[in-house]
């Protein structure tokens, strides 16, 4: 019930491409869905987050799409750059709760 499944595990795109990372969850009590970016040796940095009252949220080159009925959400990175090469984690939480449940991560490489 608490699991968040993330795919793919790794992704390689050319500069300018649009990598898409997908996550699925089971617990319908989740109502907060953040994405984190992590570089080697660093802590996760909050990238963008969505709550289920909207189906899409865009911040700069990053877009979250959310499908409540399918219990899925995804991250799209527009005009990807080599500097976007990092590991991306989706997570899920509850507004009234305290813990975040993370997916397994996607290692993204953007080739120049």
């Amino acid at each position: 019930q608490q699991q968040v499944k993330q795919s793919p595990q790794s992704l390689i795109v050319q500069k300018g491409g649009i990598p898409i990372i997908n996550c699925a969850y089971e617990n319908t009590a989740f109502d907060y869905f953040p994405w984190y970016q992590q570089f080697p040796g660093k802590g996760p940095a909050l990238l963008i987050a969505i709550r289920p009252d909207v189906s899409e949220k865009k911040e700069g080159r990053f877009t979250i799409s959310f499908n409540k009925s399918a219990k899925q959400f995804s991250l799209h990175i527009m005009d990807s750059q080599p500097g976007d090469s990092a590991t991306y984690f989706c997570a899920a939480g509850q507004n009234a709760g305290n813990m975040l449940t993370f997916g397994g991560g996607t290692r993204l490489m953007v080739k120049p």
Binding site: P34, G93, L100
Partner: protein, 113 residues
């Protein structure tokens, strides 16, 4: 505005020893959560502290304990270290009343030999 800070950066211990990790939250944040991130995996929730008390705990044994001080900083203690405790330990802080929006520190890399 300083972000979440953690100390030490790296730590090497042997099996059976005890370790204390420290965390200072972002300015204005009163809630601290601790996570364990094994190599190649997503972070796993250990526990959360608010008003100097443990508010919620993940699936971790009692060897893992914590403390929060009046200035909101926090410590994570691990007793009787096992090889499997080797991981990156992350601290995250959040604003009053918005505990799901968490900001992470750089982590402490613990190696148990």
């Amino acid at each position: 505005d300083a972000g979440v800070t953690q100390s030490p950066t790296h730590l090497i211990k042997t099996r059976g020893q005890q370790v204390t990790l420290r965390c200072s939250p972002k300015s204005g944040h009163d809630t601290v959560s601790w996570y364990q991130q094994a190599l190649g995996q997503g972070p796993q929730f250990i526990f959360q502290y608010y008003e100097e008390e443990e508010r919620q705990r993940g699936n971790f044994p009692d060897r893992f304990s914590g403390h929060q001080f009046p200035n909101y900083s926090s410590e994570l203690n691990v007793n009787a270290l096992l090889l499997g405790d080797s991981a990156l330990y992350l601290c995250a802080s959040s604003l009053p009343g918005i505990t799901d929006t968490q900001y992470f520190g750089p982590g402490t890399r613990l190696t148990v030999l």
